[in-house]
């Protein structure tokens, strides 16, 4: 799966490059036009986001260039950073220390080893079955029953969201769709592009036209933003059907699934953040918050997109 031998993939990257150039140019013009302090802050935030985007796209492009294993390792790293942000914000007790060590240094890497070895059968049930049972069993050895179920649930949930769900994005690289073998990178790029554009356009349309707030959880999300931003992302997704195994209508349908799941993921992770009393999970990406703030929508979209594709497009 070399980038250079795959013209449609190259076109996708070229398109993304064009979008980023456009965003940088727009940011530069807005920077010169902004007068009020509030406007300046919005533009600065926009520019910080764009710069972070350049980095993320560059890293992802290098990973795809270097091949499947590097991309797998890249998603392993994302899982690691996301899980770290998640567990940091949720209450565990000293008795969980060793269980957490297993989470970070055994279960997480093993899930990605299973992915790299293309062992689908075990990949799909390792965390929901084995890790699920292992976590409470390991913690129970420490004889600290306080909030036991809550602590267990937090660790299981973090593992499911940050490791299991995110690893499905990487699993797209291994889908043996007839006539589409070794072209999984395009499916992955399709997922990430639609998902992230949906986020961006929901934000942009919401800023421009948003009036009706969806819920008190996220003050920036409006119905106008969701519908127009979602429609824009679905339009883009349908427009790049030629890079996928889908027909234009199928690509639109898949994009809609990604948009809806992504939205639900963002809402869910916001609810957790509100409960813990923070705005962002971290501060690693300027303007974006933490890694988990950026991938919250992918967490929900990736496994569903993966399974629908697997169900409908594998013989």
């Amino acid at each position: 799966m070399r980038l250079m031998n795959d013209p449609p993939l190259l076109w996708l990257f070229a398109g993304i490059l064009g979008l980023l150039l456009l965003a940088s140019l727009a940011g530069w013009i807005m920077h010169r036009a902004a007068k009020t302090p509030q406007g300046r802050a919005t533009v600065d935030n926009f520019n910080a986001r764009t710069r972070a985007w350049w980095w993320m796209v560059a890293i992802f492009a290098v990973a795809s260039l270097l091949g499947r294993m590097v991309t797998v390792a890249f998603f392993g790293l994302i899982s690691f950073l996301a899980l770290r942000e998640f567990i940091t914000l949720t209450p565990t007790r000293p008795a969980d220390h060793r269980t957490l060590f297993w989470l970070f240094f055994v279960i997480l890497p093993y899930q990605y080893v299973l992915l790299a070895l293309d062992m689908y059968g075990f990949f799909i049930m390792f965390i929901p079955v084995y890790a699920f049972l292992f976590i409470p069993a390991r913690s129970s050895l420490q004889a600290d029953p306080e909030n036991f179920l809550q602590r267990t649930a937090v660790m299981q949930w973090g593992l499911m969201i940050c490791v299991y769900c995110i690893s499905h994005a990487g699993a797209l690289l291994f889908l043996p769709i007839p006539g589409f073998e070794d072209k999984g990178a395009r499916l992955l790029l399709f997922l990430l592009l639609v998902d992230q554009l949906s986020d961006v356009f929901q934000y942009v349309w919401g800023k421009l036209l948003g009036r009706r707030r969806i819920s008190a959880l996220s003050p920036n999300k409006t119905w106008e933003g969701l519908i127009l931003g979602g429609a824009t992302a679905v339009g883009v997704g349908a427009g790049i059907w030629w890079a996928t195994p889908f027909t234009p209508w199928q690509a639109a349908g898949m994009s809609l699934v990604i948009v809806v799941m992504g939205f639900l993921g963002g809402q869910t992770m916001s609810a957790i953040k509100r409960d813990r009393g923070v705005k962002d999970y971290g501060s690693i990406l300027p303007g974006h918050g933490g890694v988990l703030d950026r991938v919250d929508s992918v967490c929900f979209a990736a496994p569903v997109f993966y399974h629908l594709t697997r169900y409908f497009f594998l013989p």
Partner: protein, 208 residues
């Protein structure tokens, strides 16, 4: 100040990198800015990582003029710790339960010299649950004998979850070191009042 040898600087860079990787430590300069002035950074203590995290949070040029006050038996046990102590951290080593408090205090004053800063954990021992114990009197006496020192409160957060007392393997969560506004003992302030004020200065950084 003499520049440390290359091997020590490389070891330091490696340790700083490793510490940041494991602890995800973020430095927040809230009440003051980094400065080469002589300072005593005093922090809450809950983990073996506390010192390296605080040290790594300082800008590189300040690290070489900032030394910890530490227990002799810990830092001289084994060749690795001894190397780190002698070449990189250069701690002021105090014998636990050894010499009189006065002697130990003289040792600290000597170690400060005219350009060194100190890292001090005034609780004297690591806390198990993250609570901050009452401070021992060394901080007060330092402030009385060297009123020119800036005493900087530092709050270290989450390190008791990353490497708690009694554990050998770290869990790589995110942590932070928050630096507060410098303080000094006021004229006429009693020892107990000052120590409690210093302790509250560390605790108050928690909500900010």
């Amino acid at each position: 100040m003499v520049k440390p040898p290359l091997s020590a600087r490389l070891t330091a860079a490696l340790l700083v990198g490793l510490t940041k990787l494991i602890s995800g430590a973020q430095a927040r300069w809230q009440g003051c800015e980094p400065s080469p002035r002589q300072r005593v950074y005093f922090a809450n203590h809950s983990s073996h990582l506390d010192f390296t995290v605080l040290w790594s949070s300082l800008p590189p040029e300040l690290r070489w003029r900032t030394r910890p006050v530490a227990a002799k038996d810990y830092w001289l046990a084994g060749p690795l710790r001894r190397y780190l102590a002698q070449s990189v951290f250069r701690p002021i080593l105090i014998e636990r339960g050894g010499p009189s408090a006065r002697e130990a205090f003289e040792q600290i004053l000597d170690g400060l010299g005219t350009e060194q800063s100190l890292i001090l954990f005034p609780e004297g021992t690591r806390s198990l649950d993250g609570a901050v114990a009452p401070f021992k009197s060394g901080l007060y006496r330092l402030s009385r004998s060297r009123p020119d020192l800036e005493l900087v409160p530092v709050l270290l957060e989450n390190l008791n979850r990353i490497l708690p007392k009694g554990e050998t393997l770290p869990v790589p969560l995110l942590s932070s070191a928050t630096f507060g506004a410098p303080l000094a003992a006021a004229p006429g302030e009693t020892k107990a009042a000052f120590l409690e004020r210093a302790r509250q200065a560390v605790l108050n950084l928690r909500q900010a």
